[in-house]
Symmetry: C2
Subunit: 344 residues, 2 copies
């Protein structure tokens, strides 16, 4: 099936894409898609969180590697992750799409299946958007709204001297997933055949981390359960180094993190060895892990240690001591944000 | 000055663009640009409005005609207009940009000057966004948040039988402004010289309507002053026909509007005559006027008539009577949305 989008037109397409979306929080959403604006109801004693991310074909994603359904899912996750990084609860999204002539209605429906899956998974309601033609490729712009009880939002700027630096999950896996996709694509290009099958065996987790990342929505409840109050938080989208430097700058502290404390998955280690790459580099500069990096008061070491899926990787120091990582040989190295400069 | 954006990088660019933006409503904006998400404070007894629009180079705007400062201004206005169309008060925007290699830092600063000007004019705070590279041209995605006292939001769906159909300002001017820009550009292309000067004399208002449109933020207060409660409202972005049909469909009414009631500016009439075009077609199908189309109960005819800048152009009928316009010769014509199908 290859239905040109012009058969439906803008309004027909929007109707087709959004009619199956159920509203999970009708007490919050008075009007979703279909008017000049959505109408939302806030609860008393909460604050509103707003974040937005733009994903452009050929810059943020490559249709060679990225199935449309996964792309839709990921586009929601990267926004939800920002709300989680404020210690907030994701609530609603708007989705704007610029669609070039190579896309059919069925392809955009596939993209929306991924969006819907992520909405269901994170209990987020689709409340609006804009759909238009683009001259080149696909443009996706998502805005995510969230809520947080008054006073519970966690900024990047609250880290204090001696706070513990913690991270969820593991690092570098999404980056290694991307390396694997690229390697298999190069292999295909060197001898293109119709029978080509990429070799992902043993690295399924890495592929999933790249193509279908998760937002760490669970952390908020676990921290609350243990009575842990993070002092600063950020999500890891550009790599651990870049995010540590953001927290250090905003909080006016230094940081010390330890190589032997960095959480690395065994698949990350295995592929790094196979490809002769450094897992530490993947963790520090890889990006796209969408784990949460946060600081907690030293006094809460007991509570935070009991939370499964959280690693303590270092601590905050005086700003004058700079931002450093300590390798297993006890040598000190300056942290540098070698993450992606999209404009270079 | 032609500073490549890569000299600053993403974070440097964002800082440069946003540092001069003052927050006009600090009681509403706890955190604007600079963290994972903005933090906003809602007032009790109000609802939140959310709208979003994407503008893409080569589809929604053409750099041949559109100075960057005007583009920035217009991109804000089209979003503010949607909030006004809900009877709301625009409060905050996020701005996401995809920027291709042909744009310099200075060009993006120029765009932001227009965004800032519109923010000041409509008392809207810039609270966040995303800035990234694009492969082709400029992509602008703006989300606008607004507030409305509980119960005061006006949907497209509330029009009742016999309601008066009203419109602000005048129609077709933005479309004729575009026609003029295109004519002068064709003249230039037919004999390109460095000395070429486009002829806009006598049509300055039409050019302004196209390049620097306004949102009708004033209407809300005027209606309240006169005790007028609109039953349905929409902003005119795709042309009067298309918007009338939206209200008719959503409200399940028919509409009758009268040619001799359509508000047309004398410059619109003059250029239509000069170019041998129909001002009625410009009004019905032109689009981009960003006037407000609304319905009020017949009983409020006295009050609504006293509001300067509002024209009563017709009334709502039974749905079975369809959607019609009556020409000056009393002939009836079916309303058709010949507005723009971006996907055709």
């Amino acid at each position: 099936m290859n239905t040109p989008i012009s058969d439906l037109g803008e309004f027909g397409l929007i109707r087709k894409l959004t009619e199956q979306f159920a509203i999970t929080s009708p007490n919050r959403v008075r009007m979703a898609v279909g008017d000049d604006a959505a109408i939302l109801q806030m609860q008393p004693d909460e604050e509103l969180l707003v974040t937005t991310d733009m994903l452009l074909e050929g810059v943020h994603f490559d249709m060679t590697y990225m199935p449309l359904k996964h792309l839709g899912y990921k586009a929601v996750v990267v926004n939800v992750s920002d709300i989680c990084a404020m210690n907030g609860i994701p609530q609603q999204i708007t989705v704007s799409l610029g669609i070039s002539a190579k896309y059919t209605t069925e392809m955009i429906e596939e993209l929306y299946k991924g969006i819907e899956l992520a909405c269901q998974h994170y209990q987020v309601d689709l409340i609006g958007g804009d759909t238009c033609a683009s001259r080149n490729g696909l443009a996706i712009s998502i805005t995510c709204l969230g809520s947080v009880p008054k006073g519970e939002a966690v900024l990047r700027s609250g880290a204090q001297l001696n706070d513990l630096i913690c991270v969820t999950g593991n690092l570098g896996a999404a980056y290694m997933g991307f390396q694997l996709l690229e390697r298999e694509h190069r292999t295909f290009l060197s001898a293109p055949t119709e029978e080509f099958e990429p070799h992902f065996e043993g690295y399924e987790y890495l592929i999933e981390r790249q193509l279908m990342p998760s937002a760490q929505r669970w952390l908020r409840d676990k921290l609350a359960e243990q009575g842990v109050t993070p002092t600063a938080m950020i999500d890891i989208s550009d790599g651990l180094s870049s995010e540590l430097l953001h927290i250090a700058e905003r909080s006016q502290v230094g940081v010390r993190v330890y190589e032997d404390r960095l959480p690395l998955d065994r698949e990350t280690l295995a592929l790094c060895e196979e490809m002769n790459m450094s897992p530490i580099t993947a963790a520090f500069n890889g990006g796209e892990d969408y784990e949460l990096l946060f600081t907690v008061p030293l006094a809460q070491v007991g509570q935070v240690s009991t939370i499964e899926g959280v690693s303590i990787i270092g601590h905050a120091t005086e700003a004058s001591e700079g931002c450093r990582w300590i390798s297993t040989d006890r040598a000190e190295h300056e942290l540098k944000a070698q993450g992606w400069n999209a404009f270079s």
